[in-house]
């Protein structure tokens, strides 16, 4: 196949992945301010989109190894060609859309890693995966991230409720705007960069760009706008799960959760122990639910989210592997993989229309969640 067409396909899929990354992760920053009424839904996603756009332009550093060292490259492993990147992207996109359809806040980065791992395994076998790096960079942090966030948010919530009185707590809504904005900005500087790295790698691999050079301006601009557009589209299903599905959130809880998410993400990026934003944000919501007396955490929903995290890498890896098997058959297989991916995306989109969730019906209870009226106490005789 003409390298130009192949690279164009990779760029198109990478930008679409960036778009899904944006709308998948809007909830990390904006679910709690929307849930407490600190921001109107459309205002919240517009603010998040602008901050993601700004963040993406500010971040000029490109991850040299998009797989973060998970896939052994060079002598001991394989060189990731555009075909395998394409297969990995298909795995990441399809899994991101499946989790969106289910309203599960799963990590887009893990979906991307999973897709690339699956494609690389088909390319060169299981020996290509560095198990030690997989455990230390993904599996163990996936347990530590929510535990850290739960603890921090639990204590922060306890502090907020012990210091303030009920009539003062609406004031937390103003604070939420600042903390959620910081999460959005941090997201823009980190996540758009991954797609820039994927596109730059594909351009270098196909010989359209010199090795060792950074992303072209048009790549930065395209990725920035793709993630901002995705963020503005709003992953309302995930926003509903994070904002209302795990626990009912009051303004003081929202502020405590966002402060915990911001502090944990900033500490992890600055101190060299990377934690997933999605897992930290979900953990903070659970922690704040535990921290307020009288609040309850819906463990069934939290369990579903946990299972989603566990299967993200194997599932996106399996889809990436199937795509890689097709791609290896030649140009016909590559076209078949792309056509099947487009059909899967369309199918998921059409399925989503059967139970549409957007900013207008965000506050309706999820199907199957019953509102139990309070029992009336019998009058004392």
């Amino acid at each position: 196949m003409d390298p130009l067409i192949l690279v164009a396909l990779v760029i198109a899929l990478a930008l679409f992945f960036d778009f899904t990354n944006g709308f998948h992760d809007t909830a990390n920053a904006m679910a709690t301010p929307i849930a407490t009424g600190a921001l109107k839904p459309k205002t919240a996603v517009a603010l998040a989109a602008i901050l993601n756009l700004v963040g993406a332009f500010l971040s000029t550093e490109v991850a040299k190894t998009i797989s973060g060292g998970l896939i052994r490259e060079g002598d001991g492993g394989i060189q990731i060609g555009p075909e395998l990147i394409l297969a990995g992207l298909i795995g990441a996109i399809v899994w991101n859309l499946v989790t969106w359809l289910l309203g599960l806040p799963s990590s887009s980065s893990h979906a991307l890693f999973g897709g690339l791992i699956g494609a690389a395994v088909v390319g060169a076998g299981f020996a290509v995966i560095d198990g030690g790096v997989l455990a230390s960079k993904i599996l163990i942090p996936a347990v530590l991230a929510p535990l850290t966030a739960v603890t921090v948010a639990f204590l922060a919530t306890r502090i907020a409720y012990s210091i303030t009185r009920k009539r003062e707590r609406n004031g937390f809504k103003k604070g939420q705007i600042f903390t959620s904005s910081l999460v959005s900005l941090a997201h823009g500087t980190n996540d758009a960069q991954k797609t820039m790295g994927v596109i730059t790698l594909a351009l270098i691999a196909a010989g359209f760009q010199s090795p060792g050079t950074g992303p072209e301006f048009w790549v930065i601009a395209a990725c920035a706008f793709a993630i901002a557009l995705g963020t503005y589209s709003g992953g309302w299903r995930i926003i509903r799960t994070m904002g209302r599905g795990i626990t009912e959130i009051e303004p003081a809880q929202g502020f405590a959760a966002e402060a915990s998410t911001t502090a944990t993400i900033l500490a992890s990026t600055q101190l060299g122990f990377a934690l997933s934003t999605t897992q930290v944000a979900s953990g903070s919501v659970i922690g704040t639910g535990l921290g307020r007396k009288g609040a309850s955490v819906r463990w069934r929903t939290a369990g579903r989210i946990g299972i989603g995290w566990l299967i993200t890498i194997p599932a996106s890896g399996a889809i990436g592997a199937v795509a890689a098997l097709l791609v290896r058959l030649g140009p016909g297989g590559l076209i078949a993989a792309v056509v099947l991916a487009v059909l899967a995306i369309l199918g998921i989109f059409l399925w989503s229309l059967t139970s549409r969730v957007d900013h207008r019906n965000l506050n309706q209870p999820e199907p199957g969640v019953f509102v139990r009226p309070k029992k009336k106490r019998k009058a004392r005789r």
Partner: protein
């Protein structure tokens, strides 16, 4: 494998930073709720300290990138 010292540092830093920001903001709200003359300036001081924490966060996110963009 896992750099436990780095993780513990992240854990403690997150805990201290989040609890400090929440404490300052909560104190700002609590102190503002009253009639005494001293309450308003002290409440503003609490919010200002909290704003400093937000600015530090902002600097940690964009500071290096901005310095790089202006060529410093």
């Amino acid at each position: 494998m896992i750099d436990w010292v780095a993780f513990l540092t992240v854990f403690v830093a997150s805990l201290v930073a989040a609890c400090l920001a929440v404490t300052l903001f909560s104190l700002g709200l609590r102190i503002a709720d009253g009639e005494a003359a001293w309450r308003r300036p002290v409440s503003i001081l609490m919010f200002a300290l909290c704003a400093v924490a937000v600015l530090i966060g902002l600097y940690l996110i964009v500071g290096d990138h901005l310095l790089e963009l202006v060529g410093l």
